[in-house]
């Protein structure tokens, strides 16, 4: 499968995403923010980092990059797009995902391992995740507190768009397990079409036993499996 990993000025988890995907046996290439998505793209990763320094608001400037126009077209045609951390922020700013990510409730940056409960298995991002297995994956963000108004939250839940929630090691969704104050412990969501997803934790940092966890690979494996079943729909 061919992944395009976007590269904004000061993206800094772009190489990590490429590394993880290649290690898992698939193709990944970096796409400069001034370019368009290359032909043959099967899925897009909007990686973590501090695009444009996260000045003004996280992801606010990146969403105006030329490459985001082509990502929007790609997503409109059903192409798979996964935003990680800053990438999630970019996707919400761009309106490809609902809601927003605001300052962590304790106003501090948090870099730590968390557990994630997978709340919806019927998406190309979650289908391979073993049932009832809390994923142990690191977070590293200062503005990861998910917010959406009541109506949006109700819709997210009605449509099963909440994909991951912060939980404890047993899979219980508790306030204690919530690192940033996200509403309903939301760590990641998808759009209505179920082809665009974003999450604050970093699965690409949890794909090797050497780094302490391999749980992140299930998210990529899900995409690989989806890719095997369906040739890329969104190729521009």
């Amino acid at each position: 499968m061919n992944f395009s990993v976007l590269q904004f000025p000061a993206s800094n988890c772009d190489q990590d995403a490429v590394h993880a995907i290649r290690r898992l046996g698939h193709h990944a290439r970096l796409v400069w923010h001034k370019d368009n998505l290359p032909a043959g793209t099967d899925a897009v990763i909007v990686p973590g980092g501090f695009s444009y320094g996260d000045y003004l608001r996280c992801g606010a400037i990146a969403r105006f990059s030329p490459v985001m126009q082509s990502v929007r077209q790609f997503a409109d045609k059903g192409g798979w797009v996964l935003g990680i951390c800053n990438g999630f922020q970019v996707l919400t700013e761009a309106g490809l995902l609902p809601g927003a990510l605001v300052r962590n409730r304790d106003l501090q940056f948090h870099c730590e391992q968390v557990y994630l409960k997978t709340a919806a298995a019927d998406t190309p991002f979650t289908r391979r995740i073993p049932a009832d297995k809390p994923l142990r994956i690191p977070i590293a963000h200062g503005e990861g507190c998910y917010y959406a108004d009541e109506a949006t939250l109700a819709e997210l839940r009605a449509n099963g768009q909440v994909l991951w929630q912060y939980c404890d090691s047993e899979g219980n969704v508790t306030d204690q397990a919530n690192p940033n104050g996200a509403l309903h412990n939301i760590a990641g969501i998808c759009n209505k079409g179920r082809n665009v997803a974003g999450l604050m934790p970093h699965p690409e940092r949890a794909c090797e036993a050497l780094l302490g966890s391999e749980d992140g690979k299930w998210i990529f494996e899900s995409l690989f499996e989806a890719g095997r079943e369906r040739p890329a729909a969104g190729t521009p």
Binding site: G53, D168, A177
Partner: protein
């Protein structure tokens, strides 16, 4: 630009921190009186910060050679060490103490930014950072403001730049009140062929400026760092506080590494302390060439800047690049790709002079090599400080032994200097770049060097590497361990022993992780060198550092001196911080400090108590400070030979696959070490993994319980192995000459500790709570 420049008077010279003799020497070098701008240039170039005029004779005593050294100390912006397979590392530590006292957040950000630039200036890709911090006591609201500002500043810069901050240390002591220490370390990776020099080679080559426009930032910062810090100096500091822009730095770094791969670069240097002045002078001096620049071409942020201001500005994130003539287009293409401001500002000449023009006039004309190399050198007077007599005379007679060992242990665990630093490192992204194998929280951090850690290669180099690589051969991944250490209390109480102990502890931390030292970088945070008693502290601690670096084969590749650290109540404790980087042969040798499995055997390597020490390891100990309010007594002796034997033996045992965990004994002694072994493994947020233990020390000859539990006798490690291997490990250690003893067994949910005179047992949870949450608790205190 302002046309009227002040006349050079003795008063003005003094304001520039130049002595009359230094000024006369400057006049001799020039053959005339300096212009105002030239006076400014001499002032910063001959400040301690840039010239090391008070410390150079001492720095010469450091060991700086080993077969692995590719670029040695003092040659360039950072030293470089070979790590095999054509790969190398560049690393260095640097202080930003005074700026952090004035503005903690920005002082820390610009400290981190500066050291990252020093590393990519060498052509290396920065891959990890560390820091060493000192503050006053957390009961003061002002100290808390400084502490949280500094930590946030480090986090902001490193996180945004995308470098994992993987290790560090923090101590709290009254001597640092008002004068915090902020030392930042950075390590980068490159291939041997990618080493870049900060030399202005090639007469006729154009000189490029890249990075944000120059403003009146941190004017004379280098000179400022070379004065006693007083309230007045903080207020008076001319110019604006420097603000760090990590976003800009990331772009500058990527663009420079990309540019280096084109082969268009003849030399490159960051504009650090003393900005344009230092970079132009040093580059010309290194190459033996001259350099001519035109200030009207320098991008400027503020209107009407004078030549003095432009030359001395310390605006951040700027680089000076000398380009091979004819290759200018490539430079422009790459800087434009990254949307970076740049300008061609000058040319390399054969005059040996640094010439600066502004507004059609020549404002500077100085022989570059002379100002860079003929800076004054002082052999300062050293006199042993009087306080040391009382320190050496101190005996334990008046100090009662511990009566409540468990209570004492809990107080020690909650003492901010010993307590877990998770409140700090949780704010740093320590995993970006997907290479951190051992996260902060064990003795040393371990990172994996993989292919994408390297800078972009030129086509030619890529082809060469490819031709030397067998088909299908994987990239030779490397594992590096690093740690930063210094117990300032020991150094205060005995600078020589304390200096040795700092290096020894760092090397012991590496050994516990399975690593062999490659080299060291040090930051001498010291007080005023003009005071003989304070200079004696500097001299003696350097003697200790140098001896220890020799003993462990850890050559010093560079470092930094920060003098004049003091607060209104007196000088800081002398704090020669040491960062040591080591190599771990194979991933299976990577070892962490926490106990692993039920039933494992616990072994103490090293002597439980140094019976030859009249203070039994309690001099300068955390226990004396916390329980008795005493900061005195000769610190534990540091026997380098014994330490070396311990380290090589431990690494040998690890390499044979016998050791499951290893943790060094430092502040708080054996009891704190054991407690940390049972509770320091963190699985995830709110999910520590406890592993209790039962330890019996009652075999030991009659001695103070406090010495056995909390004494800080040097060269000790608590290690575990399977119960099957216990005797083998003890035998092999003894055979190598390392005292070794089985002291207990891993298991259960409690830590039970028995000595001849005492016994206690506590649930690991009960110990973990005060240790883990202490800093957060202090920091959440409201208001005053």
């Amino acid at each position: 630009m302002s046309m009227t420049e002040p006349a050079i008077t003795p008063d003005l010279v003094a304001k520039h921190n130049l002595t009359p003799e230094e000024y006369q020497h400057a006049v001799k070098i020039l053959g005339r009186n300096p212009t105002y701008t030239e006076l400014g240039i001499f002032s910063v170039m001959w400040s301690e910060h840039c010239s090391y005029k008070n410390t150079r004779p001492l720095l010469k005593t450091f060991p700086t050679r080993s077969p692995r050294i590719l670029v040695g100390a003092g040659e360039e912006n950072a030293g470089i060490i070979d790590i095999g397979h054509g790969l190398a590392v560049a690393f260095k530590i640097e202080s930003h103490n005074h700026p952090s006292a004035v503005e903690p957040f920005q002082g820390a950000t610009t400290g981190v930014g500066g050291i990252i630039r020093d590393i990519f200036t060498m052509g290396a890709r920065p891959v990890c950072a560390a820091n060493s911090l000192r503050f006053g006591e957390l009961s003061s609201a002002e100290v808390r403001r400084l502490f949280s500002g500094v930590v946030q500043g480090i986090a902001h810069y490193g996180n945004c730049f995308g470098i994992p901050t993987v290790a560090g240390e923090v101590y709290f002591d009254r001597s640092y009140e008002g004068n915090p220490l902020v030392n930042a370390f950075c390590l980068g990776v490159l291939r041997h062929e990618q080493i870049t020099r900060g030399a202005a080679h090639g007469v006729g080559n154009p000189v490029f400026y890249v990075g944000p426009a120059t403003g009146r930032d941190g004017l004379a910062g280098a000179a400022f760092a070379s004065q006693d810090l007083t309230e007045a100096s903080a207020e008076q500091q001319r110019g604006a506080v420097q603000v760090g822009d990590p976003f800009m730095e990331k772009l500058v770094c990527e663009a420079c590494l990309e540019l280096l791969a084109t082969g268009a670069v003849a030399g490159m240097q960051d504009m650090g302390a003393a900005g344009l002045t230092c970079s132009t002078c040093e580059m010309a001096a290194r190459a033996g060439t001259g350099i001519e620049i035109e200030l009207d071409k320098v991008p400027q942020r503020a209107p009407g800047m004078s030549s003095y201001e432009i030359m001395l500005s310390e605006s951040q994130e700027r680089m000076l690049v000398v380009v091979h003539k004819g290759r200018e287009e490539e430079v422009k293409r790459i800087f434009d790709k990254w949307d970076l401001p740049w300008a061609e500002i000058g040319v390399i000449t054969d005059t040996g002079h640094m010439v600066v023009r502004h507004g059609g006039r020549q404002v500077v004309n100085i022989p570059a090599r002379k100002i860079a190399d003929e800076s004054p050198v002082y052999h300062r007077e050293a006199v042993e400080p009087a306080y040391l007599q009382a320190v050496r005379a101190f005996r334990l007679d008046g100090v009662p032994d511990t009566v409540q060992p468990l209570e004492d242990l809990k107080r020690l665990l909650a003492w901010p200097s010993i307590a877990s630093k998770n409140w700090v490192y949780r704010q740093y992204d320590h995993q970006v770049r997907a290479g951190t194998v051992v996260l902060p929280g064990s003795d040393a951090a371990v990172i994996r060097i993989k292919e994408d850690c390297l800078p972009v290669m030129s086509a030619e180099l890529a082809a060469r590497v490819e031709s030397q690589t067998a088909p299908g051969q994987a990239f030779p991944e490397k594992y590096l361990a690093l740690t930063v250490d210094c117990n300032g209390t020991y150094v205060y109480l005995d600078p020589y022993e304390g200096g040795k102990a700092a290096v020894t502890e760092a090397c012991r931390n590496l050994a516990c992780s399975g690593a062999i030292p490659l080299g060291a970088t040090d930051n001498l945070n010291m007080a005023n060198p003009h005071k003989p008693e304070l200079f004696w502290q500097i001299r003696e601690s350097v003697r200790g550092l140098a001896e220890a670096c020799r003993a462990f084969d850890a050559p010093v590749t560079g470092g930094n001196c920060s003098l004049y650290n003091q607060n209104p109540n007196g000088p800081i404790d002398p704090t020669p911080t040491v960062a040591v980087v080591g190599l771990i042969e194979k991933p299976e040798h990577i070892t962490t400090q926490w106990f692993k499995d039920e039933g494992d055997t616990i072994i103490l390597l090293g002597e439980a108590v140094d019976l030859g020490d009249p203070l039994l390891g309690l001099g300068g100990s955390a226990w004396l400070q916390v329980v008795h309010g005493l900061k005195t007594g000769a610190p534990p002796r540091c026997d380098l030979e014994a330490a070396r034997t311990l380290h090589t033996t431990l690494v040998g045992l690890i390499q044979s696959g016998l050791i499951k965990s290893a943790h060094d004994c430092s502040e708080g002694g054996l009891a704190v070490t054991l407690a940390e072994c049972t509770m320091s493994r963190m699985e995830a947020r709110g999910t520590p993994r406890f592993m209790g233990a039962t330890v019996d020390l009652s075999e030991w000859p009659e001695t103070r319980t406090s010495a056995l539990l909390f004494g800080e006798t040097q060269s000790r490690v608590v290690a575990t192995c399977t119960s099957r291997d216990g005797c083998k490990v003890v035998e092999r250690a003894r055979l190598m000459g390392v005292p070794a003893q089985i002291i207990g067994k891993v298991g259960g949910e409690r830590l039970t500790l028995k000595t001849r005179g005492s016994e206690f047992s506590a649930s690991v949870d009960e110990l973990h709570h005060p240790w883990w949450n202490s800093l957060a608790k202090h920091m959440n205190q409201p208001g005053e």
